[in-house]
């Protein structure tokens, strides 16, 4: 299964991520597919994470979380969030095949981030092709 995104689609997604999340103070946002490929990435200019490794690990982590949810009788867990001393990571599924990974610091509350991520996800859903891996 192969999918293609045109320059215009990518730029529209970049704009949504930049306006909704980076302008808010989120350090870095990566839109990935469930195979671990990076579709779009945006950052504040102050982050130098190894995003390819992050993408692979995030896709694996999400798959593992989903499998755990199924074992305890859930379809999925609605909140996937890791809290650190200075950096936090939030995951949000988009359609059935994509994952939005947001890395943010102490300046933003989790509640506010979730609200803004939900807004961004609603916009991005309309811009992405539907897949089945």
């Amino acid at each position: 299964m192969t999918y293609i995104l045109e320059q215009k689609q990518i730029e529209e997604i970049e704009q949504v991520l930049s306006k909704s999340l980076i302008d808010l103070g989120v350090h870095s946002v990566i839109l990935i597919d469930m195979a671990g490929n990076i579709v779009v990435d945006q950052d504040s200019g102050n982050s130098d994470h190894d995003i390819y490794s992050l993408a692979a690990l995030a896709a694996g982590n999400y798959g593992a979380m989903n499998a755990m949810a199924n074992i305890v009788g859930e379809d999925e867990f609605s909140l996937l969030f890791h809290k650190g001393e200075t950096a936090n990571i939030h995951f949000s599924k988009i359609l059935s095949d994509y994952l939005l990974v947001s890395i943010f610091g102490k300046e933003i509350s989790l509640g506010f981030l979730r609200l803004k991520v939900a807004e961004a996800v609603a916009k991005i859903e309309k811009l992405l092709p539907t897949q089945s891996a």
């Binding site: 299964m1 293609i4 045109e6 597919d33 195979a35 671990g36 490929n37 390819y52 593992a64």
Partner: protein
């Protein structure tokens, strides 16, 4: 599930090293990583148990240059080979574009090779993928152990066991010393790219 980014002119594809436990999948990736680490910005990611066995996967992103103006980025993964880790093995296969099956040449591992290939077929089927259609290269690893007196399966016997129906390209290899490791990878990338090109046309 390969992804073509027309803005960056980049193709991303996923190649998974599959096979029985302790067969040399991680050693393959480590050899490749050590060859190219000076040119890499990323480090190889490994998720291992305390006993140094792969728990979830190893990951190595590899930028292999450009084809027709598109930069090709292959993501190399290994799966955990141990039978009990099938749930995580299946997760790693999600969106796979090409496979290197690393079989163990030691005579005592004959059955483990066969059951691992069968397991691969079942796990691919869970993603509506067909073992006989996906780009796959077979590797008969640990050939160097023959010189140390370890009883090995002959290449012919391994071909009969694993490749009589598949008829995939195969290589006798020694991942520890790097023999044919790069040749296997090159073949897998080539087959994956040809297959992607077909689906895009």
């Amino acid at each position: 599930m390969a992804f073509v980014n027309l803005k960056k002119k980049e193709v991303q594809a996923k190649i998974v090293y599959y096979g029985p436990g302790r067969g040399g999948k991680t050693t393959n990736l480590e050899f490749i990583y050590n060859r190219i680490r000076s040119q890499m910005q990323n480090e190889m990611v490994t998720i291992k148990t305390h006993g140094d066995r792969t728990l979830f996967f190893d990951f190595l992103p590899l930028n292999i240059g450009t084809i027709k103006g598109y930069s090709i980025r292959t993501q190399l993964y290994t799966v955990p080979g141990q039978v009990k880790y099938n749930a995580t093995r299946r997760l790693v296969l999600r969106g796979v574009d090409g496979i290197v099956f690393v079989a163990d040449s030691m005579a005592v591992r004959k059955e483990k090779n066969i059951s691992s290939l069968k397991n691969l077929e079942e796990n691919l089927a869970a993603y509506q993928k067909d073992l006989y259609k996906i780009p796959i290269v077979l590797q008969y690893n640990k050939r160097d152990l023959g010189k140390k007196g370890v009883p090995l399966l002959s290449i012919e016997e391994m071909e009969r066991d694993l490749n009589s129906k598949l008829k995939a390209p195969s290589f006798g290899t020694s991942a520890m010393i790097g023999h044919n490791v790069v040749a296997t990878l090159k073949k897998a990338i080539q087959m994956t790219m040809i297959s992607l090109q077909r689906t895009l046309m």
